[in-house]
Amino acid sequence: MKARVTVMLKSGVLDPQGKAIEHALNRLGFSGVSDVRQGKVIELDCAETDQKKLHSQLAEMCEKLLANTVIENYAIEIRPS
């Protein structure tokens, strides 16, 4: 199954890259854009076929490596292939 993990800085943690993107968008004339946040997307191809098991495996991967839970949140999506 294919999985996608999205890692974002927690709200309340300053995201200077998001702020820089927001300023650049505003400068380009895209007004009305605010709270821009930048994160990471990690795609994985997994052998596990049981969705529930895969979800708990992915959560463990996030806790151990993919995200730094001091500053980041993660979201897991699973797409049966």
Partner: protein, 223 residues
């Protein structure tokens, strides 16, 4: 002193810190490649040098924090062996959980490479005993991700327990770090992580010798 400097792919200040340690203690540390057979118990100081281990992939220090040799470092740190992490070494120590918090992208988004002034906040440690409390040091920084972050509860605990070892003086914070924190200790005070490079302030030719006392402190504590 039998010191080990652990080298990962992308480490680049291992020779600088080895030189500083050798000058202070009279014995050259062993440089240990991360992929060689682990780290046995015969060392009385473990150093994680500056650099860009694993190209800063995923997050600074994240890959090195899960390298097999790091399991040995965690085990030995937990049993009391002194561990010093400088710059990327500090980032690795936070990623392993040996030190709390995280080092985020500099608030300016710019790589900071210059001398800054930091103050010694804790002198009752084996890393800082040769400094005077409140002493101000001129030391170089060279990092893009030195913005120390921790939640308020953690920051309060660090302050209450006297675990902020070094703090940038007002107006000198190069990265936006919470409460101007430049370096912190673990609860047992045998693990120190800091962003500035004391090893590069150990010779008049380099512009400052203010980092020397850190290595002298270690040499006299361990010897």
């Amino acid at each position: 002193m039998k010191a080990a400097v652990v080298v990962f792919p992308g480490s680049n200040r291992e020779h600088d810190v080895a030189k500083a340690l050798e000058r202070a203690s009279g014995s050259a540390p062993k440089l240990i490649w991360h992929g060689d057979a682990g780290l046995d118990d015969k060392y009385d100081l473990i150093v994680l040098p500056g650099g860009f281990s694993y190209g800063d992939y995923l997050r600074c220090g994240a890959m090195a924090a899960h390298s097999p040799i790091t399991r040995d470092i965690i085990r030995q740190a937990s049993s009391g062996t002194p561990v010093l992490g400088i710059c990327n070494g500090f980032q690795i120590l936070t990623e392993t959980g040996l030190l709390p918090g995280a080092l985020m992208r500099n608030a300016s988004l710019k790589f900071a490479s210059r001398y800054v002034t930091m103050r010694v906040e804790a002198t009752n440690t084996m890393f800082t005993s040769r400094y005077k409390a409140g002493q101000e040091l001129s030391v170089p920084v060279a990092h893009g991700d030195g913005n120390y972050f921790a939640d308020d509860e953690t920051l309060d605990r660090l302050e209450d327990e006297g675990r902020v070892a070094f703090r940038y003086v007002k107006g000198q914070n190069p990265n936006g770090a919470s409460r101007d924190i430049a370096g912190i200790l673990n609860a047992k005070r045998n693990v120190l992580g800091l962003m500035p490079h004391p090893e590069n302030a150990t010779d008049p030719l380099l512009g400052s010798t203010d980092g020397k006392a850190l290595f002298d402190s270690l040499a006299s504590a361990i010897s």
